[in-house]
């Protein structure tokens, strides 16, 4: 607990030991007694070396470098999409949708945390050998990587637009993630398989949410239908990138045949079939668009990611180790 601490509560935060890094929204009963009742922000302690003691996941061994890279693909997709959905809080068309989009974002953030934590174990092994210290945790990976180090696909980086465009992006993303995680449960890498087994039920619910809204907006007013059609046309170019194989996948092997990863190319047919079914139910045409360049898996991103990261990362970088 060394480092710069300027909060009046810093001392008690240190004394509280493991509590110092407890999650936000600490129940009132758990706050130090001398925190004023009207201090709505709780305690804010800033300690450069006191990062949140993360929960350790014990489902399997540390990730290899290739597994870590693959975990970043999936984890960064979830993290960036969660950040996008968080921007809807207080701005959705109705309160229920505010809650729904926030909950979906929370699920995705959970997937991102598990995946980045696992990716960090690869670094941890290297770091321990080299310096005797633990490596990069999930927060380090989320807040201290720059844009070219992210592995997210372009689809999740796309701006929210209006509600219909967000639903269109959700439909594509969730349809992809359901097929992906469903197959990843067979991975020979135990932690990836465990994360996938949890995630698949959650993204299934996300897909259901997006399907219902797609059908509803398409069958609503002329205006809602126009927006849904425009939203799908805006995000459809980013679908193709999700189905492109990379050398990494060849090295990891197909989870369906005793390997670790799900080949993106194997998802094209099932994802497209689900989407065509939804478009059919909604009475919408499949957008006739040219696929976008893509390249997120190798760190080449759409123009939107930098702005998103600037907003997501500034606080952690301005106040290293901040907890609240």
């Amino acid at each position: 607990m060394s480092g710069t601490e300027w909060s009046p509560e810093a001392g008690s935060a240190a004394a509280a030991g493991h509590r110092a890094g407890a999650a936000p929204a600490l129940p009132a009963a758990h706050r130090p007694e001398h925190v004023a009742r009207d201090d709505l922000h709780g305690k804010v302690a800033v300690a450069a070396e006191a990062l949140d003691p993360e929960l350790v996941t014990v489902d399997g061994p540390a990730a290899t470098a290739d597994v870590a890279e693959y975990a970043l693909w999936l984890g960064d997709d979830a993290l960036v999409l969660a950040q996008r959905l968080g921007a809807w809080i207080s701005r959705a068309p109705e309160l229920e949708e505010d809650v729904a989009l926030a909950n979906i974002g929370l699920d995705l953030l959970g997937h991102a945390r598990s995946l980045l934590r696992h990716a960090g174990t690869a670094d941890a092994t290297k770091e321990r050998q080299r310096t005797g210290t633990a490596g990069r945790g999930e927060d380090s990976l989320a807040y201290w990587r720059d844009e070219p180090e992210f592995r997210s696909c372009w689809l999740v980086e796309q701006p929210n637009g209006d509600f219909a465009r967000t639903i269109a992006r959700q439909l594509l993303a969730a349809a992809y993630q359901v097929e992906l995680y469903g197959r990843l449960t067979a991975s020979s890498e135990p932690t990836l398989a465990a994360i996938a087994a949890k995630a698949v039920r959650e993204v299934d619910y996300h897909r259901d949410h997006a399907v219902q809204w797609t059908v509803r907006l398409a069958g609503g007013t002329r205006e809602s239908r126009r927006r849904m059609t425009d939203g799908l046309a805006a995000v459809w170019p980013y679908l193709d990138e999700l189905f492109r194989d990379e050398p990494l996948i060849g090295r990891l092997g197909d989870a369906g045949a005793g390997g670790v990863a799900v080949p993106p190319s194997s998802l094209r047919e099932p994802v497209t079939a689900v989407l065509r079914g939804v478009l059919g139910a909604a009475g919408l045409e499949e957008p006739d668009v040219v696929p976008a360049a893509g390249g997120g898996r190798s760190g080449s991103h759409s123009e939107h990611l930098g702005y998103l990261l600037a907003e997501m990362q500034w606080l952690a970088r301005r106040h290293p180790g901040a907890t609240w």
């Binding site: 999650a23 598990s114 465990a194 087994a197």
Partner: protein, 196 residues
Amino acid sequence: MVTGAGFAVRPARAGVADTVVAGAVGPVAGESPRRRAWAAAAAVVDPEVPVLTIADLGVLRSVEVSDDGAVRVAITPTYSGCPAVETIRDDVVDALRREGFAEVRVDLVLSPAWTTDGISEDGRRKLREYGIAPPTGRSRFGEARPRGPVPVEISVPCPRCGSLDTRELSRFGSTACKALYECRACSEPFDHFKVH
């Protein structure tokens, strides 16, 4: 820290709970350290549904006490993004320290994935009494997962009046694990703990 070696991931309540008297909190003469540790950890309540203990919820997976008194607890999150996990971890550590265990480590296990099937009958009754409709039916992810977007609708009884004339207002409720419902018989809104 991620060793995993020699650490058995236990299914909920297998081998541990059945040897422990539910609700037995506090040191009792002759009780084994593991039983005391389990009882202390099992009494921790969920911060978002405070009528349920983490044992009721199926969140507490295992408690092991080594010969030197170090306790190792395994918990599993309900939903991946459940923000209560850190609070539960801290509360488990506190409960065990109060019980006299100085060294406590809490691990997070994901496998086997949590489902609402792990909520005990006692837990379901407590939920109902608290005004939350418990999960209806069993998780459809237990065995082979049916493909395709085909949600199965089952009537959710109102926890207040018992009527089956209820409707879903929103698939997402106050927490990730709940949906918002309305009873058309007594006109009260209520939370439904989703089948998961």
